[in-house]
Point group: D3
Chain length 126, copies 6
């Protein structure tokens, strides 16, 4: 058997989701209870409260773009689409990230837009 | 005359605002037109559009906390208060920043909360 | 009453500790339960387990230096001293941070060494 | 049709350029005027003025290496070669980035050098 | 001949090591003596001294995770395994990185765990 | 005796220089030879070679602004002035940093301009 790691950019959203689930399961199976609790806090941070889930997902998206993490951007793009973020809202949020974080965020914005297109493609073909 | 620069943390919001205005004026007077245009884009990024100013200021606040810039945090705290962000909304946004950005953001969150208190103090005494 | 915020660098370790406690208490009193849980995870991450508290505090110190957070560096310098980190160990850890994080960490290393001196000063005079 | 996103590292400079153009066109077609203006400012920042384009591209290269963005590094390597940056100049600029940004920049420096080789390869075979 | 650059995530540890050696050799052959000296300092920072190599590799791992550099994480995972870091120690170090650096480190932690598995796979099959 | 640490922003360039020298001397006196060698590489990185000192100081300035380190910015502003960087060159370099690094760099640009003014003030009064 030849071992091959996953690429940083997963070919499809489906691949991304599978990899994310598989590795999260392994990390949670490690027996480190504090990591489990952190993962739980991570999930709960985006639940509807005083702010809506939609607003929180936009916060997560902008934080991910300015910190320049492609996987985190992918995750929040998916979630934003699920929460009904419309295209002009999406671009206005990306513009805030671009102005705050500078041109260094542009490659991540390109990939965010590519993922957004993939979400729309999946919606049309499913 | 003894020259003294401003400290990174201004004593009061009033000091912060004065320093910000004074230095921005000097930068804009430098004759570099592109910096002027950037400053203009920066202001316009938070104007109401498909997303409300309130939502955009929350995006700016979270981006500033995860990138750990005290002056930017101060600015967006002031603007969030002006846009009517309520205390529980404020803390939920800070929680998203804390979870995304980790404990390294905590000193900035402490100073954000201190600035929030100062805004409330100013409102009561004015 | 004139409102004055704390400076980013507290004059003494005593000031740092008081400010940290005061603001943490305010944040925890805000009623945001998830922030409380995060603070709890933060404390527990450095407790002795498979790795000793001393090793974990060194990990926290190096992470704080490469991420360049003075308050976090101050906190872990205090804790490293309490865990018995000796001066050559301290400098070897700082050297790892310096090599990984580059010359941009040097101002933070200067302040880390100043805090270390203050810890030693307090030990001698108490 | 199977959807496949582009990898973070494009196989060839040709692929990089095509992807960059394709996605920039989509972003600019989104109708968000402020993003358009930012892209315009980004292009103009490297035009010859008081400083030469060559110096500005070196500034862009070093900024990209210390902020560790492979696509940005690729772009500025191409532009530096076009502006006539010689190999010893290139390595001296990379050395400044390495010293400022630390060993964490080394993987990006490896890829910068690989891209530089590709530019030289293209020049010889074209 | 079609030129193809290496992907940011190398398929196997073997690929990673070969690429790292090949590019380091090219960089060192460039004749820039200061880069050579930096590479030398980088190697020596993890040698046993007042702190053990094992502790220093854990410091390098945590610094790499909070600064979010996959290649650096891969390198320190390999070295941690060679220094005999046990699985619970590994996860406790990752937990410190996760708490300090936040959820933005999670994609890098997933890849760190995947590399750790590959190291274990190699040990069993060699 | 009351112990007081230095503030992150030194009141004057004279204070900055004294503090920098005092703490560097202490760090170098610690006996950690590798830190000494790093400091030496740091100094040498800006010496004239294939690129002029002036260009290298501009590289150092832009790297410091995008990484947002006030002390590093102060140091390179002083050095840029010594190398004869003229005001329009200075602002064009800051504009590159602003575009690459985004609005999050603005507070550091304000302080860079304040330091530049202080350098000019010193030149006139000395």
């Amino acid at each position: 058997m030849v071992w091959r790691v996953s690429q940083a950019m997963h070919d499809t959203l489906e691949d991304f989701k599978k990899y994310r689930e598989k590795m999260n399961a392994k990390i949670l199976a490690s027996g480190n209870q504090q990591i489990q609790r952190f993962f739980n806090l991570d999930t709960r941070a985006y639940e509807s409260g005083a702010l809506s889930s939609k607003t929180k997902e936009l916060l997560g998206l902008v934080a991910s773009v300015v910190l320049r993490c492609d996987d985190c951007v992918t995750y929040h793009v998916i979630r934003c689409v699920e929460e009904g973020v419309a295209s002009p809202e999406f671009y206005e949020a990306l513009n805030v990230a671009l102005v705050v974080g500078g041109s260094i965020t542009i490659p991540h914005i390109r990939r965010a837009v590519e993922r957004l297109e993939e979400c729309e493609h999946l919606r049309k073909t499913s």
